[in-house]
Amino acid sequence: MSNQPITSRVQLPSLILSAVFLVILMPLLNSFGLISDFTLGNWGKYLCYGILAISIDLLWGYTGLLCLGQALFFTLGGYMMGMHLMRVIGGAGVPTFLSMVGRTEWPSFFGPFSSFPFAIAMVILVPGLIAAIFGYLAFRSRIKGVYFSILTQALTYGAALLFFRNELLMGGNNGFTDFRTLLGFSLREMSTKRGLYIATAVLLVAVVAACKWLTNSRFGLIQRAIRDSENRVLFSGYATANFKLFIFVISAIIASLAGALFVPQVGIINPSEMETGKSLEAVVWVALGGRGTIVGPIAGAISVNVLKSWASSGATADFWPLMLGGAFVLVVLFMPKGIMGIPEQLQGLLKGIGRKKENTKDLSPSPILSDESDLLSSGSTPTGES
């Protein structure tokens, strides 16, 4: 578009710098021993979470669809990759999760998963297809807002119930673990881990670039218009259901890819990853970082998880849920635009103070709490400061 916001032009160099840092510098520093293997492994995880956060933001921040099923797509991607990793372990007989339910042979649907390209295709197709079917049904009947959230939560809940069953032959509550190799490289080797980290960082950069392009296209305009006033878009001749379905499928695939890269790095996948709390936790990252921006969710995902790995062990472990929950409440109440919105908030605050001095009668709603949505921001917005 011709009239890009100026901020995004300023951001571009710093984005490229960050990309270079994450993709090239971090692994380089690690191979010189300046960053520990443990730290690099953790950052690999964080970046996967960052990708998951973008997928949530594409739906929530840009389209107004709060999907509580992104953990499902993330986990499904993980399971598809896990099936491949299980298949290439080799050795005699079948893994315990199969012998436990009396199977002596691999079930037929595991067969093609010994091929890596097939597994990757499934990582894209399975969540994509589920999102397409569910999205088609939901958007066709114009389920939106909180109903969409509740239904996606129910979908995730149902899937988790299914995956907890041993009879599904997906490992029950233990899931898949004890992976050995990926594409012939041992997963225990640091070089493989570094490779996986780089792959994650590259995917993150690619996803960021794609989302930048997408949200700056006319599609992005329509997306945000749907978020702000879907009915108006409908009365401007757009089949909003199709647009929503498209972005829903895309973000399911993005989440799934993140999950697929996550699993070989942490070495385990089980259904507890798709419990309803997981989706909501990822929503916290987005809310904290700032929804409706591309960088915000990544910043949120990384900062919450850095904090989490520091706080959720040892003496502070019991207080972690309090911190997470409390932070969430505070962000929702006082920082609706998250970290990314702080500069704007400060500006608004300063302006507000200046204006109050001039004219005490001026009661125009402060930008701090005004919501983007015209439906929601009508009427006076209660603020914590009044």
Partner: protein, 256 residues
């Protein structure tokens, strides 16, 4: 009735909400190129009628045909109806507050509405010129890159009319364009609508009788009452009709 092929024909339309008949056996015919004004007291069913045409609500009974019966509007949904060339300005200004004025117009530009086009389609120089032209018409050239949300009420109303122009709609449904405007703005809005008459078919719903007189200029005015057409004709004839005086002009109100 007119022998010319009609653009829009509504016959026997009925729509009730919880027993209350907002539209009751409504018959309404519109010719191509007309500028029709619809008046009626509050609750006469004016806005519901527009909702029915644009597919926002569905009637319990009746037919609604478009372009000499080529299309049955009742079988189409909102965006399909829009794509036939039926545009609507809502009673309360409904623009995209978080988008700039230009972006609002870009979203309304006539043309392909698919996902593919939205991703890869380019805006042509002709379209750019058209946007500039519309900005001129609706007097928002200076505000082109400002967010629509911070425009004044009247400017939003104009922007919404501008969006209809960008759409190149055959039929403009304009719901209370003068609401909340100053007399000066109201007059200019009337001029704008008059300048569009002929190029577009226009249905204006209005309360403000000064405004109605300004734009109708001897054209046909339809009076709705309790969801039914009470009478039709030039404004003078309508205003002297006893039934109209009783139900509407007798308690004339300018309330928005």
């Amino acid at each position: 009735m007119s022998q010319k092929p009609f653009l829009l024909a509504a016959e026997g339309l009925t729509r009730s909400f919880d027993g209350f008949k907002a539209i009751n056996d409504l018959n309404f015919y519109l010719d191509e190129g007309e500028l029709r004004t619809v008046i009626g007291p509050n609750g006469a069913g004016k806005t519901t009628f527009l909702d029915l045409i644009t597919g926002r609500t569905r009637p319990d009974e009746g037919t609604l045909l478009w372009d000499d019966g080529k299309h049955d509007l009742l079988k189409l949904n909102e965006y399909e109806i829009y794509r036939l060339g039926i545009g609507r300005k809502f009673q309360t200004p409904t623009v995209y507050n978080d988008h700039t004025v230009t972006e609002n117009l870009v979203l309304s530009l006539a043309g392909l509405r698919g996902i593919w086009h939205s991703l890869f389609g380019k805006i042509t120089p002709q379209q750019k010129d058209r946007i500039a032209e519309i900005l001129g018409i609706i007097k928002l050239t200076d505000h082109a890159n400002r967010k629509a949300g911070i425009l004044a009420h009247g400017q939003k109303q104009w922007l919404e009319i501008g969006m209809l122009l960008a759409q190149e709609a055959r039929l403009l449904l304009v719901d209370e364009p003068a609401a909340g405007m100053t007399d000066e703005e109201t007059y200019r809005t009337g001029e704008l609508l008059l300048s569009l008459a002929g190029k577009h078919t226009i249905v204006v719903i209005e309360h403000d009788m000064t405004f109605v007189r300004q734009i109708s200029q001897g054209r046909k005015v339809t009076v709705l009452h309790q969801g039914h057409v009470l009478c039709e004709g030039p404004v003078d004839k309508v205003q002297s009709d006893e039934r109209v005086i009783e139900v509407y002009l007798g308690r004339k109100s300018k309330a928005a």
